[in-house]
């Protein structure tokens, strides 16, 4: 915009109907050569798009996806126990909804994102029941939100309590216990599909977050032993690929442990992912810590805050806000990296996709079904990563209020 327009802000920038046409002329049809180029490219894009759409809607065989949708969901988890997983999802999403109503702010951004995710999940070719379930979840979040909004602060402590208990509730629901008729035990080697991917990612994110912060703080510590340990840990883990950490957890660890001690595979993988992710997170957080001016710490100290208070109340909130984009980027890649557990023999979302591609039923389909199956898998990964990115953006906007 020209400076004359800037100096007269009360005058609205003139916007005429012809502007899009003028824009087209200026940018796409400025000379005969540019016009030709534009037309050729348009034709290329259009024909490509048409072929993709044609394939998507007429040629692609979506039956392998539709027929195996439960496998995508929960892997070899007993089909008659599906309700347990659905209940868990409903519980957690409902908690998000009601918390958003009570606390608003960041939680509302997360709940809104989750609602969007449920709507996205209605799109692919699920059966009607599945669609109804996702629509129901979206409605549940909304209903719980308004419930939380109306009850206000009186629900704060019960909801906080439920949040604290929720990992245990989810574990008990999904794992079950022996001797129970309603909740028969389901061995962890039967857990799979999206459920497994989500469990690994959520546990990885939740556990690596505090660990990463501690490592970052430790790396800046004045105590030489603490500092040396943190530096060594971070640099060793960052110098090793995740897949080798996973192999170590799966194959090497049992060699070092006494034969009587058997750690569940899924726990070993979770620990490996957490330890791996924490090292990267620590470096991101360290970047944020360095961005906090020394004057902030001096002001906190001068007020008499002790080192824990000044770290927790002054330094970390500012440091973490500065690195939200980096942290979310890392959580997104962690979510996708969980697909590596496929290589160490776990049947996560990608593992299921691979298994479905090789099912007997589709061997007769010309060209195989891997395109459809992999595309669908990619779509699921994308919906989650997209949601994370959107939520992060809206958190950033919210936290940006009033900053310099």
């Amino acid at each position: 915009m020209s400076s004359t327009e800037l100096s007269a802000p009360h005058l609205k920038q003139p916007r005429t109907v012809a502007e899009p046409i003028a824009w087209l002329r200026r940018n796409l049809f400025s000379s005969w050569f540019n016009s030709l180029l534009t037309l050729v490219l348009l034709w290329l894009i259009a024909s490509l798009l048409l072929r993709v759409l044609d394939w998507l809607f007429t040629q692609a065989t979506w039956t392998p996806v539709v027929a195996n949708i439960r496998l995508f969901w929960i892997g070899r988890y007993p089909p008659d126990q599906l309700w347990r997983v659905q209940l868990c999802l409903g519980l957690v999403l409902g908690l998000f909804g009601v918390s958003a109503g009570i606390w608003g702010g960041i939680v509302r951004a997360v709940a809104t994102g989750l609602m969007g995710l449920m709507v996205l999940l209605i799109i692919p070719p699920f059966d009607a029941g599945m669609r109804l379930y996702f629509a129901g979840l979206a409605l549940l979040i909304a209903a719980m939100y308004f419930g939380g909004l109306r009850s206000g602060r009186s629900l704060r402590w019960p909801v906080t309590g439920l949040w604290i208990a929720s990992p245990l509730i989810v574990l008990v629901l999904i794992r079950g216990f022996s001797g129970s008729a309603t909740l028969p035990p389901v061995e962890t080697n039967l857990w799979g599909g999206l459920m497994l991917t989500l469990l690994l990612a959520v546990v990885g994110i939740l556990a690596s977050f505090p660990l990463g912060i501690l490592l970052a703080l430790g790396r800046r510590s004045r105590l030489p032993v603490v500092k040396a340990f943190c530096v060594a840990y971070i640099e060793i883990i960052r110098g090793v690929p995740l897949i080798s950490v996973l192999f170590m957890a799966m194959i090497m660890l049992p060699l070092f442990l006494p034969p009587t001690v058997r750690v569940d595979t899924i726990v070993r993988v979770m620990v490996a992912i957490t330890l791996f992710s924490a090292a990267y997170l620590a470096e991101n957080v360290r970047g944020g810590l360095q961005a906090v001016p020394n004057g902030q710490i001096e002001a906190a100290r001068a007020l008499g805050l002790n080192i824990f208070q000044s770290t927790l109340l002054i330094v970390l909130p500012q440091a973490l806000r500065a690195v939200i984009p980096a942290i979310v980027g890392q959580f997104i890649s962690l979510f996708k990296d969980t697909s590596l557990v496929f290589i160490v023999g776990m049947i996560d979302l990608l593992g299921i996709a691979d298994a479905i591609i090789h099912q007997q039923a589709w061997l007769t389909v010309t060209g195989g079904v891997q395109r459809e199956v992999l595309l669908f898998t990619a779509f699921i990964y994308w919906t989650f990563c997209f949601t994370m990115a959107r939520v992060a953006r809206s958190i950033e906007t919210r936290l940006g209020v009033g900053t310099r």
Partner: protein
């Protein structure tokens, strides 16, 4: 030191006993001898202005009083507590001393009222309600009660510095340290901050002020310390300093800034 001690301050307050005592304080930054044997004391309700060329150690001096800088030799006693390496002593002294910085150092992620209420809640263990009432009272005192719910970034420099003063006062300190409080301000905002400091001096607060605002010093200070090369070269009442400076260095410096 006592030759100047009338028993009343420039603003008419009763002078009390010595609340800050420094004896032969030394500090080095590497090879640089930034504080070279500082001996000084401040009495209750006294307003002491510290001035001198940049790099003379005046900021470092007041930062040793609440241990933002560590002194390496000598003795500092604040309100009867000797500054040692014991973190409990240091934190006890910090609770009794408020500090105002050149760059304000407000917490950008907290609203104005939360900035002020934070330390009373976490250090003085007040309830949130008490602390917020106190914060509003102090905002009233510094003249900007309407800004309570804004973030520091939304205020002007002068307003931010007044919030910073309110934040320091919220701990109900016995001594206030001002480290060039108006040096980062635009000229038209200096007065509003100095007005608040004047009012504070009249209320009997013990203050040590590092500043170049000589008109303020002349009006409010009971005593002025001239720092040069890590030493107190000369001290006296504003009248003695401005009208009859004894040392050539004091004369030279005053001639440069007045």
């Amino acid at each position: 030191m006592n030759e100047i001690a009338t028993e009343r301050t420039a603003t008419g307050q009763q002078l009390g006993e010595e609340i800050i005592i420094c004896r032969d304080v030394h500090k080095w930054f590497g090879d640089f001898h930034v504080l070279n044997g500082i001996t000084a004391s401040v009495r209750k309700a006294e307003v002491v202005v510290v001035f001198g060329p940049s790099g003379s150690g005046k900021s470092t001096f007041i930062r040793t009083i609440n241990r933002l800088e560590e002194h390496q030799k000598g003795q500092i006693i604040v309100d009867g507590i000797e500054m040692t390496n014991d973190i409990r002593n240091i934190e006890a002294i910090r609770r009794e001393t408020g500090m105002v910085f050149q760059q304000f150092n407000l917490f950008p992620h907290l609203t104005v009222i939360d900035n002020i209420a934070l330390a009373p809640i976490w250090v003085r263990k007040k309830t949130r309600k008490e602390a917020e009432l106190l914060a509003l009272e102090l905002l009233e005192r510094v003249g900007i009660p309407e800004q309570a719910r804004k973030y520091p970034g939304q205020l002007s420099g002068g307003q931010q510095q007044r919030v910073a003063i309110a934040r320091a006062l919220a701990m109900q300190p016995r001594v206030m340290l001002f480290d060039e409080p108006t040096s980062a301000l635009d000229p038209e905002m200096i007065k509003e901050v100095l007005d608040v400091m004047r009012e504070l001096a009249r209320s009997g607060m013990t203050m040590i002020v590092v500043t170049h605002e000589m008109a303020f010093a002349r009006e409010v200070a009971d005593r002025m310390l001239f720092f040069d090369a890590g030493q107190i070269v000369e001290q006296g009442t504003p009248e003695q300093i401005f009208e009859h400076p004894q040392h050539d260095r004091t004369k030279l410096f005053l001639s440069q800034i007045l």
